[in-house]
Symmetry: C2
Subunit: 154 residues, 2 copies
Amino acid sequence: MTTLQDDLRQAKAFTSLHEEAFLNVARTEAVLHDGLDRVLGPHGLSLTQYNVVRMLRGAGPAGLCRNEIRDRLITRMPDVSRLLDRMEAAGLVHRVRGAADRRLVNTTLTERGRALVNQLDAEVTALHAGQLGHLNKTQLRSLIELLSLAREPA
Amino acid sequence: MTTLQDDLRQAKAFTSLHEEAFLNVARTEAVLHDGLDRVLGPHGLSLTQYNVVRMLRGAGPAGLCRNEIRDRLITRMPDVSRLLDRMEAAGLVHRVRGAADRRLVNTTLTERGRALVNQLDAEVTALHAGQLGHLNKTQLRSLIELLSLAREPA
DNA sequence: TGACACAGAGTGTCTTAACACCTAATATCC
DNA sequence: GGATATTAGGTGTTAAGACACTCTGTGTCA
């Protein structure tokens, strides 16, 4: 007799829990993102640009083509061309049309870009330590695991 | 003799763990955000606008002034005036200059705005269930608790 | 080998966010 | 009670993101 009601209550509770989880992810991302922006801002970098210089450093001298950069970005970014335009204008990256496949444009870090991202390592590490240093290893691993699980298809 | 080395290794491990946690938060937010955008897009709403109509529904007939809206938003938003301009042009909200304190501008939901956010409840609930339904209550509560902890000052 | 599909990169254009600045109204304090 | 600070809201302008479309080069297949 109270089954439907119970089910609804449970559904409601579940819904709220999902929503609460979503809001917590969003809020936490905003807080961490804001902190990183405050570190990157004085260097004229956005978070997206920082991700690009990091992935280009990881790619080494081989560099990456535009679509590889796009696909590896954390957030969907449909206009990588002009993002790289700006970074090239800032002297952070260098682009050269592919020789073998002339459709490709290879993007590599300039010396200045490499120096900048290397310099930022210490600042970013200190920021992360300040933001997340009060969590112990177990808590961090648990958080990482739960977030990874949350992103799984279903 | 190996203390320094150990310390460095540990520092490195901690750093990576912090960074991994940060990246997981960012990536998860992007995935969930994208999903919600796909639900809200057809209704002409951004996630920020959706948050506004939700908080205005919660505020009831009393409404909220601009700075209250700004302060309650999940992500920092320095240009709430024009955000509300657009929402007013779309017929979702209504603004009226305060009578007692003429500096204040009270914003309330229109009937259309209220109908839209009510209609969206089912869609958003279904989305969240699809995105997070494979986590059980314990996992969700643990995730929420860890994210809350992560946002604490230190 | 020539038409055609596809993939990679870039552009035009509109919308939206970001930053600094400005105006009006209220509070404060001597 | 009048100068001054503070608070709320809005605007001008630049930069960045979003979406559809185009251009060029490569693969494919009759």
